[in-house]
């Protein structure tokens, strides 16, 4: 078996070769500018973009005219939130979001706070779900936007999107969702889910990096966004810039494949994820699942291996690519804010590993990863003073630690 094994599919995914094949002609042979209206080169490019727009729209149950191309989900999130805040400034200045959103949403909101917006950051329940009663309480007559992600990138927890959307609709508030972890992985439909604006990226669904989209509803309600870049007025004046035609073709193809193969793929992802979970739980004591198992992406597993520190665990499984919520693995030296928002102690966050199963993983790989983890966790527990204390019957919460 070839190593390293990639199990970090929430970070990015390997591009599907079928996606690459679809893209290649648009780099060299059909290189036209999709905005060139007066010659064949432009028309061919435009046709390709139109086809991709349809493929994306089909996957999320909408029409091609509601798809705006961007450089990725960070840009889409920025455009959605800042675009609404600016466009609807006269209507209100209050935004509701959640503490576990991606930084592209949280930091955008923080920026808007500096510019006079008021933002409510909803806490989460222990299982990672939004408390709908708390959301209901958070609305004010100044609320213009709710931004809640479809599924979380660390714990894979799927929010009650349709209900959130319904609450927004009833109050005349726009609803944006960062859909990157869910789109192409589970059924997402902007109409049954009551979504007004949704961020999409290609590289999380086996497409290329550097291309994404924003779904912007055209009717009931008609959403308008203030453009965040000035230029040629592309994409219904919402996002200027020459379209990245090969990237867009790739995003479209990735969506088409995802839609075609989703039923079979979801089953396979769930099987592999559950296999990993079952093996780890059978081979180790003192493991803890972070976030709801019921409302969860089929390819996500987030587990804390108590009394073992995440970075040292990653060091021991250096031929397996996964992520940890440990502070030592983050640039900020802070443990995962997502896990902390669930009310988990820092110690659990330090011990957590995120697994993201993907299209190209095999059963053999899953078994290898499970065996390796069991081996390394057991070894590190031999080294762990905490595990020793717990085995001696000491309650760690009663210990006076000499913090440093």
């Amino acid at each position: 078996m070839k190593t390293p094994i990639y199990l970090d599919n929430h970070a990015t995914t390997q591009m599907d070769k079928r996606v690459l094949s679809a893209m290649l002609p648009y780099f060299t042979e059909y290189f036209g500018n999709a905005a060139s209206r007066n010659h064949e080169f432009g028309w061919v490019a435009e046709q390709a973009v139109d086809k991709a727009r349809k493929q994306i729209a089909d996957l999320i149950g909408t029409t091609p005219r509601e798809i705006i191309f961007t450089s990725g989900a960070t840009e889409s999130n920025n455009l959605a939130i800042k675009g609404v805040a600016e466009m609807y400034a006269e209507k209100g200045n209050h935004i509701i979001t959640a503490a576990t959103e991606h930084k592209a949403v949280l930091d955008t909101c923080k920026r808007l706070e500096k510019n006079g917006c008021r933002v409510t950051y909803l806490p989460l329940k222990g299982d990672g779900l939004i408390d709908l009663d708390m959301l209901k309480e958070a609305f004010t007559d100044k609320t213009i936007l709710v931004s809640i992600m479809y599924a979380n990138n660390e714990i894979g927890v799927i929010q009650p999107i349709a209900e959130i959307g319904k609450m927004c609709r009833e109050r005349g508030v726009l609803f944006h969702t960062d859909g990157v972890q869910a789109i192409g992985k589970i059924p997402v439909n902007v109409n049954t889910d009551n979504i007004d604006i949704m961020s999409i990226t290609a590289h999380k669904l086996y497409g290329p990096k550097g291309v994404g989209a924003l779904y912007v509803r055209r009717k009931n309600p008609r959403v308008q966004l203030t453009a965040q870049m000035d230029g040629g007025g592309h994409e219904r004046n919402m996002r200027s810039g020459t379209l990245n035609v090969p990237g867009i073709v790739g995003l479209g193809e990735a969506c088409a494949i995802a839609q075609r193969e989703m039923p079979e793929e979801m089953t396979r992802m769930r099987y592999l994820r559950d296999r990993l979970k079952t093996k780890l739980e059978a081979g180790l004591d003192e493991v803890f699942i972070n976030g709801s198992m019921e409302h969860r992406l089929p390819h996500n597993l987030n587990m804390s291996f108590l009394y073992v520190e995440g970075e040292s665990l990653l060091m021991g499984i250096n031929d397996v690519a996964v992520s940890s919520g440990s502070a030592c693995t983050s640039a900020t030296l802070e443990p995962s804010y997502v896990l902390k928002a669930l009310g988990l102690g820092d110690d659990l966050a330090h011990s957590s590993i995120r697994f993201g199963v993907g299209r190209f993983n095999t059963e053999e790989q899953i078994d290898y990863v499970a065996d390796k983890l069991i081996d390394v966790v057991s070894k590190l527990r031999e080294l762990s003073p905490l595990y020793e204390m717990v085995k001696e019957g000491i309650d760690l919460s009663t210990v006076q630690w000499a913090a440093h």
């Binding site: 009394y307 073992v308 520190e309 970075e311 040292s312 060091m315 021991g316 440990s326 502070a327 030592c328 030296l333 443990p335 102690g345 820092d346 110690d347 330090h350 031999e382 080294l383 762990s384 003073p385 905490l386 595990y387 020793e388 760690l396 630690w401 000499a402 913090a403 440093h404």
Partner: protein, 139 residues
């Protein structure tokens, strides 16, 4: 993050893992750090009460690879030293030996703290033993 060969060596082959009898008067135990901070080090020494030489040292560490390596290295260095010599071990010696990057310096600080805590525990035990003996003599 790239680890130095020495950190990897200590991580893969930690020296002196284990525990000594913490109730023994010749054993000093130092436990530093906190689970919330992501590292806890337990370092123990067994001292020859005749000559003050550290005859054995053991550690257990919850923490990153550099924390494990720092404490593993500390136990190696402690053995054969007198308690006074052991107090001379500085975190910068550990940083240099393991080529720790700046973000991992706190691991070496923790190891130095653990050494000091273990020696302090040993000395406390010894002086209370002396006191107990003195009391017994008076009685």
């Amino acid at each position: 993050m790239a680890y130095s060969d020495k950190v990897l060596d200590h991580y893969n082959h930690p020296r002196n893992v284990g525990s000594l009898d913490k109730s023994s008067a010749s054993v000093g135990t130092g436990m530093v750090g906190a689970p919330e901070c992501g590292d806890v080090m337990k370092l123990q020494i067994r001292v020859n009460e005749e000559n003050g030489i550290i005859e054995d040292a053991k550690f257990k560490t919850f923490g990153c690879g550099s924390a494990i390596a720092s404490s593993s290295l500390a136990t190696e260095w402690l053995k054969g030293k007198t308690v006074d010599e052991a107090l001379q071990i500085k975190n910068t010696d550990i940083v240099n030996e393991l080529s720790l990057p700046p973000v991992k310096i706190h691991c070496s600080v923790l190891a130095e703290d653990a050494i000091k805590a273990a020696i302090s525990d040993y000395r406390t035990k010894q002086s209370s033993k002396v006191n107990t003996l003195a009391e017994q003599t008076v009685a």
